[in-house]
Subunit: 360 residues, 2 copies
């Protein structure tokens, strides 16, 4: 980085120019008090005036340029120091070691817990520069592993990184199991945390080179992974660990039944060639089983559910059709396929159709 | 940030100055081809020459200053972009949300697993700017919680932060249970990981304001904490999870017995007033029980154990005293107290003495 302080030479130069200028003005002034001569004199005087003017302007511009240079160099130093302290003192810069390729293309539809959708597959591919294949030796001998990852789809991430203390993080969050009642965020697994790190467990299917095939995942496609650890039952599985009463109310999240429209499998089979090659599944039939497992849990957001329930209450009071809820069409996106379904007020799921998304 | 591109005005100024200069040189040259006049002419010519020289120098300096300013501003832009991309693309800057105050003053003595030392206490105090007390509401209703933290004592951290792909991370690590045999690091819980994040579970004793009292910890004093999550048995405790055979060989890490020298408790009671106020324990007796729990596991490093075992083998071959191992004195540092002990070749532990450390 260039040195922003003035060098003695340049200072001396400026000084000398200024002095010269002063003496010139003086001497030429003296001259004009003397008796006038012919055109040669006037011509020379014009030259002198013009030179004086140019020199003044040049000096002015010179000073401006110097100020600009000094300011820019000071800002540069500040920027350098800033980014340094950000990295080594106030925060730890965590570099993802790999990325998740999951069957869940969007957050909507991604299970709220691991292992409740046994067929939910993902491939974790490691950054070869950070993770040599030898570092995975022995992992396949474990039935399960932890995945520590970043909630990369949180919309408030940018603010969080720039100034954690300023980001408007909510201290309490709505809990799906409590129909939206609030809890302290550290009493939940909400993704909106001061440090947006996720923890989940998955089944280790196989290790191939620098990637792991996982199942039972609750991870959305594209999730950046920070670490993988073997699951150790003797310290991770705690006998007699207890939770608050409200955490046990699982029934809120299950559905009564999942059925498919008569021509669903035929439609799916037509779409299959488009995703076949990159699919984590071997056949349309296996993919249909995945859909059934995913939709056997109510994956709708709290607001979606509440809305429908209100409709149904209204309808029942009016002695009207109790299947009002059927009118809402929901979407589930798996491996880029758009699956449409309805849920009756008695929470029976009917899977109606499947189609390729635009990006396929 | 100032704009580094040349403004039309300044360009015009430079041009005009240069042209003026050219015309001046021309006219004065013409003059010198004319017939000579008296001293006034020479005086004026001297002025002109001096002015021309000064103007040339000034213009030269002006150009240099402009170049310097432009270079500095370009570097500044580069630096800004660099630190931005570091933060938002290649790495996630994780800010610790709290710090652990643990009974374990050093890594040596800190249990290798959570919950095996029930009396191992720690207080997690949260950064008030990041964690409002309301965010902890409901956490106390859980029996256990996860702690996600940074392995801040790894000596290679700085290198890792600066350039993850360049840091010399070992793909395989020595495993204490295997007497130092190596395993792929992702098949272990080794702290030396591409992303040095630790995962452990602890018992939630109580939540007070913006801090949690924990027990059964395996965390060293001063550990920076990134996140706390409730332990959910229905997804964290996996029935039938399996591990490789070598992971089960726990007996390698247990000792046969732990005894104290006759005057140990008396000596400890003398030291007590010095740590009483900041201690996580209520009495010397309770602290002695902590020591017994900690030393009932062999906390020595692999190299320490191997060394002693070699000595003993040698001695046994020489039909010599089988308690050769007694001659090695080990240190355990708890809450700043230095506890000294020996281990016999039959792995009986004798706790001999306790004293205040210099920093107390």
């Amino acid at each position: 980085m260039a040195n922003s302080t003035e060098s003695p030479n340049s200072t001396w130069l400026t000084l000398s120019i200024t002095l010269t200028l002063a003496s010139i003005s003086a001497s030429s002034a003296v001259y004009f008090w003397g008796k006038r001569r012919d055109g040669d004199f006037d011509q020379k005087q014009l030259i002198i005036n013009e030179l004086e003017k140019s020199l003044k302007e040049s000096l002015k511009k010179c000073a401006a340029e110097r100020q600009g240079r000094i300011r820019a160099q000071q800002d540069l130093r500040k920027a350098m120091l800033q980014s340094k302290s950000d990295k080594l003192e106030t925060t730890y810069p965590m570099a993802p070691i790999g990325i998740i390729r999951s069957c869940f293309s969007t957050r909507n539809g991604t299970p709220r817990q691991p292992l409740i959708v046994p067929l939910a597959r993902a491939r974790l591919t490691f950054d070869a520069a950070l993770v040599p294949p030898a570092s995975l030796e022995g992992l396949e001998e474990y039935s399960h592993c932890w995945i520590i990852y970043v909630f990369h789809l949180n919309t408030d991430l940018d603010k969080l990184w720039k100034d954690p203390s300023r980001s408007k993080l909510k201290a309490k969050v709505r809990v799906p199991r409590l129909k939206g009642e609030k809890m302290g965020l550290f009493a939940t697994r909400s993704p909106h945390r001061p440090c947006p790190i996720g923890l989940t467990v998955a089944k280790v299917e196989s290790v191939q080179g620098n990637s792991i095939l996982l199942s039972g995942v609750d991870l959305v496609d594209g999730t950046p992974v920070l670490d993988v650890k073997p699951y150790l039952p003797y310290c991770d599985s705690i006998e007699g660990a207890t939770v608050p009463h409200w955490v046990k109310m699982d029934d809120l999240l299950t559905v009564a039944s999942v059925d498919f429209s008569d021509d669903f499998l035929a439609t799916l089979t037509n779409c299959w060639p488009a995703i076949d090659k990159k699919s984590l599944y071997t056949s349309p039939e296996e993919f249909q089983t995945l859909i059934k497992q995913v939709l056997s849990w109510d994956i709708r957001s709290v607001s979606q559910r509440t809305q429908v329930e209100e409709n149904c209450e209204k309808t029942n009071n009016e002695q009207d059709n109790p299947d009002e809820g059927r009118d809402v069409i929901y979407h589930l996106n798996l491996e880029g396929l758009d699956v449409t379904y309805r849920i009756t007020s008695k929470s029976n799921v009917l899977v109606e159709n499947v189609s390729l998304q635009n990006n396929n």
